[in-house]
C-alpha cells in the first residue's frame, strides 16, 4: 500500500512540475499576487487631498489653514474660491474632504463667540473619509485649546502617550505580507487538489487509476500528499520572501508556525478534494475553487475585521480555516505568539480537517463507483 501511494505521489509531483502550463499556474499568479497585494492591499490613508474654501481673511482662519497645510496628513491642499468649486472638487474626487470657513470666522472666534466651520467628506470612500475627519478634528481641537487657554492641559501629546505594539510605525506591509503567506498557501493547495482529479478525468487517465489495484482511499492520499508538499514548499518560499525581501520582523517560533501550516493545509486539501470530486471538468474545478476562495478571503478578517460583521456571519467564520491561520501567521511573525494561543487557533483547523477529509473521501468513493 505504501509503495503504491509512493508511486502515485512521485507521479503527481512529476506531472505537476513537468507540465509547463501547470508550472506557470503554480508560480506566476502567486508571485503577481504577492507583489500586487503587498502594495495594494492597504487601507492606509496616504497621498490624499483636501480642498479649503476660506472667504474670511482674518488671522484665526489663516492660522488654521496654515496648520492644516503643514500637518503632513494631507498630500494635496487646494484652496478654492467658491462653494461650487468645493462641491466640484469632491465630485471629481480631487479632494476627499473640504473645509469651509464662515465669512466672519476670525472675528467671531477672536471675540470669544463660537465660530464654525463646515467639513464635507466624500462618503464614497467612507473609511478614508472618517480618518481624514479625525485628522481635521484633532488639528482644530488643538488650535482651539492653544488659543483659548494657553498652558492649560488639553488633549495633547502631553496628556496622551500613543504606543503601537508589535508594529510601532504601523507599517501596512507588515500586515499584508504575513497575511498573504496564509492566503496564497490557501490558493495553491486548493488549486492543485481541485484541478488534479479533473485533469485526469479529462485526459482519461483516471480510468487507468480506477482499474489498477489502487483503492479510492489510496488515490485520495496520493492526491493529498503532493498538493500538501507543493503548498508547503510555496509557503516556505513566501516566508523567505517575507523575511528577506520585505524585511518583515519574525519574532515567533518557526516550528510552531509550520505545525499550524501543516494543519491548515490539511484542512484546505480536504475542501479541494471535495471540489474535485464534484467537478467533471477543469473549468468546473476552477469555478469551484473561485466560489470557495472569495468568501474564504472575505470572511477571514483580512479584508475587514471579523468583529465588524453581523453576529450570525461571525458564527460562520468559525468554519473558515483561513480565519485561524491569519491570527497565527501574523501573531508568530509580529507578536511571538505563545504556544497556547497557537494551539487555541490550531485545534479548530484540526477539527475542520477531520471533517472535510472524510466527507471528501466519502464523496470521492461515491463518484468513483
Amino acid at each position: 500500500m505504501l509503495q503504491r501511494i509512493a508511486a502515485l505521489v512521485i507521479k503527481e509531483l512529476l506531472a505537476t512540475l513537468r507540465d509547463r502550463r501547470a508550472r506557470l499556474a503554480l508560480v506566476i499568479p502567486p508571485i503577481i499576487q504577492l507583489l500586487l497585494f503587498s502594495f495594494t492591499g492597504t487601507q492606509e490613508v496616504k497621498n490624499i487631498g483636501i480642498a479649503i474654501f476660506n472667504p474670511d481673511t482674518g488671522q484665526a482662519s489663516t492660522e488654521l489653514c496654515k496648520r492644516l497645510e503643514a500637518s503632513g496628513n494631507f498630500r494635496y491642499v487646494t484652496f478654492v474660491q467658491s462653494t461650487e468649486a468645493v462641491a466640484d472638487a469632491i465630485d471629481r474626487q480631487q479632494a476627499i474632504a473640504s473645509v469651509r470657513f464662515q465669512p466672519d470666522f476670525s472675528e467671531r472666534f477672536l471675540s470669544g463667540q463660537n465660530a464654525s466651520l463646515q467639513v464635507i467628506l466624500d462618503g464614497r470612500r467612507s473609511n478614508a473619509a472618517q480618518i481624514v475627519n479625525g485628522y481635521i478634528t484633532t488639528i482644530v481641537g488643538q488650535f482651539v485649546a492653544e488659543q483659548a487657554a494657553p498652558g492649560r492641559m488639553t488633549v495633547s501629546d502631553e496628556l496622551i502617550q500613543p504606543r503601537n505594539w508589535f508594529n510601532a510605525n504601523l507599517e501596512y506591509i507588515w500586515f499584508t505580507v504575513p497575511s498573504l503567506v496564509a492566503i496564497i498557501t490557501l490558493l495553491i493547495s486548493l488549486n492543485v487538489t481541485s484541478m488534479s482529479v479533473a485533469r485526469e478525468r479529462e485526459m482519461g487517465t483516471f480510468d487507468q487509476l480506477l482499474v489498477s489495484p489502487l483503492q479510492p482511499i489510496e488515490i485520495m492520499i496520493g492526491k493529498t500528499i503532493p498538493a500538501f508538499l507543493l503548498a508547503l514548499a510555496e509557503a516556505t518560499l513566501f516566508l523567505l520572501v517575507a523575511v528577506f525581501i520585505f524585511r518583515i520582523p519574525f519574532h515567533g517560533s518557526l516550528p510552531l508556525l509550520y505545525l499550524a501550516l501543516v494543519t491548515f493545509i490539511t484542512s484546505i486539501v480536504g475542501v479541494g478534494l471535495f471540489i474535485s470530486a464534484l467537478s467533471a471538468t477543469q473549468q468546473q474545478a476552477l469555478l469551484g475553487t473561485f466560489t470557495f476562495m472569495v468568501p474564504g478571503m472575505l470572511l477571514s478578517g483580512y479584508a475587514s475585521p471579523i468583529e465588524n460583521m453581523p453576529q450570525w456571519l461571525q458564527v460562520i467564520t468559525y468554519a473558515n480555516p483561513l480565519r485561524y491561520m491569519m491570527v497565527i501567521v501574523k501573531g508568530v511573525f509580529l507578536k511571538d505568539l505563545p504556544p497556547e494561543v497557537v494551539w487555541a487557533n490550531t485545534w479548530p483547523m484540526l477539527v475542520i480537517a477531520l471533517f472535510t477529509i472524510p466527507v471528501a473521501t466519502w464523496f470521492f468513493r461515491a463518484r468513483a463507483s
Binding site: I120, S126, N164, L299, N308
Partner: protein, 418 residues
C-alpha cells in the same frame, strides 16, 4: 465562351492557366450572372442572428454561465453587503486602571458609554497584554497611578506624573489607527464635558459641522456593493467569454465555423452580443438586488448607469476575446482572465483598497485597467448622481479601452488555423 481563371496572387503564380471550355469567369466580390452568387459578403444579418441564437441556447443550457451571471453576484453582493464592513463600529479595548479615583472612574465610564467601544476593565497591564497578543483586544488604554493628580493640576510637578497610554495592536494597522483616533477623540470629549461640569467659563469654541456627502450613514456597504458589480461584470465579460471561445477551439467547432462563409466580424459580434446581453441582464439584476435588498442609494439615472455599464462590458468583452484569440485552451484562457481581469478589478480598481495609498508605480498601473474607471463611475452614479464631469471622462476612457481591445482582436484574428 471562355473561362478565365485569374490568379490574384501574382507572386505565387498559382493560377495562370486558361481553359478553353466552360462558361464562367470566377471573380471574387463581383456579382455573377450565374444562378448562385459567390459575392463574398462581409456582413449578413441573418448569419449573425444565427450565431447569436446558437450562443443563447448554449448559455441557457449551461448551468455554469447562469451560476456566474446570477448566483455568484448574489453571493458576492451578500458578502460585500454584510461581511466586508470597513467601519469599525465596536472596538474591543481594555482599560487598565492603575488608580481608582473619581477621575479615572469617570474616564472609564465615558469610554463605556461610547458606542464605539466594548470595554474590558482591568487593573494590571499584564493581564491585558496577553489578550492583546491573542488578538482578543485591539487596544489598551492605561490610566496611570498618579493620573488624577496630573489632570487636576493639583500638583505642580506635572512632569513626573505618568501620562495616559494608548496601546494599539499594530499587527492590524488599520484597526490600530482607528483605536488611536477613537480613544483620543473620546478622551477629548470627556475632558470638555468635565470642564463644563466644573463650571469653567466655556472657552470660545469652533464648532465643526461635519457632513458626509453621498453616504451620510457612513456605511461602507454603500460603496462596496456598487464596487462588487464591477467584479461580476469582469467575470462575465472577461472570464466567461474567454472560456467559451477557448471551448469552441478545444471541441473543434471553431474549425467548422471557419470553413463556412461566416466573416470574422460576424464571429466576433456573434460572441459579443449574447454575452453583452447576459452581462447586462446580470447588471440589472445586481442593481435590483443592491437597491432592493441592501438599500444602497441609486442617485444617478438608470440611463447613465446603462451607458457606463455598456462601455465597461464592451471593454471586458474585448479583453476576453483578445485573450481567447491568443490562448486557445480553457486552462490558459482561465488563468489569463484571472490575472488580467479579475485580480485588477479586485485589487487595482479602488473598490476595497485606496488607490491613492499605493506606491506610485502601482498607482500608475491602475490606469491601465478599465476596472478603475468603472468603479469610480459606479460610485459616482450610485452615491453622488449624474456628475457629468466624472462620468464623461470615465465613460470615454472605457469606450477607448473597448476600441483598443477590438482593434487588437481584429488585428490578430484571421479565419485561419495557423
Amino acid at each position: 465562351m471562355k473561362i478565365e481563371i485569374e490568379s490574384r496572387d501574382p507572386q505565387r503564380g498559382a493560377l495562370s492557366e486558361r481553359s478553353s471550355s466552360g462558361n464562367r469567369r470566377v471573380e471574387t466580390g463581383a456579382a455573377s450572372s450565374d444562378s448562385r452568387s459567390f459575392a463574398v459578403e462581409k456582413f449578413n444579418p441573418r448569419r449573425l442572428l444565427a450565431l447569436i441564437r446558437k450562443e443563447g441556447v448554449q448559455i441557457l443550457r449551461d448551468p455554469s454561465s447562469i451560476l456566474i451571471a446570477f448566483i455568484l453576484p448574489v453571493i458576492l453582493l451578500f458578502l460585500f453587503g454584510y461581511a466586508v464592513s470597513l467601519d469599525s463600529t465596536k472596538l474591543r479595548v481594555g482599560v487598565v486602571m492603575e488608580e481608582r479615583t473619581p477621575v479615572s472612574e469617570s474616564l472609564m465610564a465615558a469610554l463605556r458609554d461610547s458606542k464605539y467601544f466594548t470595554v474590558t476593565p482591568g487593573f494590571t497591564l499584564k493581564e491585558m497584554e496577553d489578550q492583546l497578543v491573542a488578538g482578543k483586544l485591539r487596544g489598551i488604554l492605561v490610566i496611570p497611578v498618579n493620573f488624577s493628580r496630573l489632570f487636576t493640576g493639583n500638583n505642580g510637578g506635572g512632569d513626573t506624573a505618568a501620562r495616559l497610554q494608548i496601546i494599539a495592536d499594530g499587527s492590524e494597522p488599520n484597526t490600530a489607527s482607528f483605536v488611536q483616533n477613537y480613544i483620543r477623540a473620546a478622551i477629548g470629549g470627556w475632558q470638555t464635558a468635565r470642564a463644563l461640569d466644573q463650571g469653567a467659563n466655556a472657552p470660545p469654541n469652533i464648532e465643526i459641522e461635519t457632513r458626509m456627502w453621498f453616504n451620510p450613514s457612513l456605511e461602507s456597504k454603500n460603496y462596496l456593493v456598487p464596487g462588487s458589480i464591477a467584479i461580476v461584470m469582469t467575470l462575465i465579460g472577461t472570464l466567461l467569454t474567454s472560456l467559451v471561445v477557448a471551448r469552441e477551439w478545444e471541441r473543434g467547432t471553431m474549425e467548422a465555423l471557419m470553413a463556412t462563409p461566416v466573416s470574422i466580424q460576424e464571429l466576433v459580434l456573434g460572441k459579443l452580443i449574447p454575452y453583452f446581453l447576459l452581462g447586462f441582464g446580470s447588471m440589472s439584476f445586481c442593481t435590483l438586488v443592491s437597491v432592493g435588498i441592501f438599500h444602497t442609494p441609486l442617485r444617478g439615472s438608470a440611463i447613465v448607469l446603462a451607458l457606463v455599464t455598456s462601455a465597461f462590458l464592451a471593454a471586458c468583452l474585448g479583453q476576453g476575446l483578445f485573450i481567447s484569440t491568443l490562448a486557445k485552451s480553457q486552462f490558459i484562457a482561465g488563468q489569463a482572465a484571472l490575472i488580467l481581469g479579475f485580480l485588477p478589478s479586485f485589487q487595482l480598481s479602488g473598490f476595497i483598497f485606496e488607490i491613492r495609498s499605493m506606491p506610485a508605480p502601482i498607482q500608475a498601473l491602475t490606469y491601465l485597467f478599465p476596472a478603475r474607471y468603472f468603479v469610480q463611475a459606479l460610485h459616482t452614479i450610485f452615491l453622488a448622481g449624474d456628475v457629468g464631469a466624472v462620468l464623461w471622462r470615465d465613460g470615454l476612457i472605457l469606450v477607448g479601452f473597448a476600441a483598443v481591445f477590438f482593434l487588437l482582436t481584429s488585428r490578430v484574428t484571421r479565419k485561419k488555423l495557423d
